[in-house]
């Protein structure tokens, strides 16, 4: 069966520090992968999308970037975090008509 792993689960980072969140998928190949962010009490906003290694589409301009160095690995990064980057970050992958989400990373920028 397919599983999606995300880490870390929680993270507290100071303003201006770098960020790296990792997502890996098991049990499938060449998945479509997504990064979403959920601000407190809000809906989900699509940040990045990838159809394959090195292929990244950005949904909105922001202080974040994404990379896909391997088929089943998707990384969300920032060189310098802002307070507004705080939120709940979710990795997702698509299979046919279904979409599965990782357990999420709660990021607090202080």
């Amino acid at each position: 069966s397919q599983t999606i792993h995300q880490w870390p689960a929680t993270l507290v980072q100071p303003v201006g520090s770098p960020l790296s969140l990792e997502c890996t998928v098991e049990g499938t190949s060449n998945p479509n992968l997504y990064w979403y962010r959920q601000a407190a009490g809000r809906g989900l906003q699509l940040l990045f999308y990838s159809v394959g290694i090195g292929q990244i589409s950005s949904e909105v301009p922001q202080n974040l970037s994404a990379s896909r160095p391997q088929d089943r690995q998707f990384i969300l990064s920032s060189k310098k975090l802002l307070l507004s980057d705080s939120g709940f970050y979710l990795c997702a992958w698509r299979r046919d008509t279904e979409a599965f989400f990782g357990q999420g990373t709660r990021l607090t920028v202080v």
Binding site: R42, G43, L44, L46, Y49, V51, S57, A99, F101, Q103
Partner: protein
């Protein structure tokens, strides 16, 4: 720009009562998803609706899709406290080539009281 609107945003209901959550969207799509989110947790898939007139039921929840009206509903029958959570609908739309993306509604926070 696609807009996905849910109402109500907050719903407090007594156990045993019935209610419906509405999801309206502004573009053509024949795929709609419903998710449940518990506080501090990720999203749990509830239903995937793939065509006009689709209806799916699981326990006390039933979802339907009317693509012509661009409307989906999530009906709750005889609510129980365990259903307390936030419910999101998400519309599937093309996103370059053969890929697609999910655009989420604002969510409906359901609180079931004794």
């Amino acid at each position: 720009e696609l807009k996905v609107e849910q109402n109500p945003l907050f719903l407090s209901m007594q156990e045993g009562k019935n209610y419906t959550i509405y999801c309206n969207y502004s573009t053509t799509s024949d795929r709609l998803y419903w998710y449940r989110q518990d506080p501090g947790k990720s999203l749990e898939s509830l239903f995937v609706l793939l065509s006009n007139g689709a209806v799916k039921q699981e326990g006390r929840l039933m979802a339907s899709l009317d693509t012509k009206a661009r409307l989906s509903t999530l009906h709750i029958t005889a609510a129980v406290h365990d259903l307390s959570a936030t419910y999101f609908c998400a519309v599937d739309t093309p996103y370059g080539g053969t890929a697609s993306k999910l655009t989420f509604g604002t969510g409906t926070r359901l609180q079931v009281t004794l």
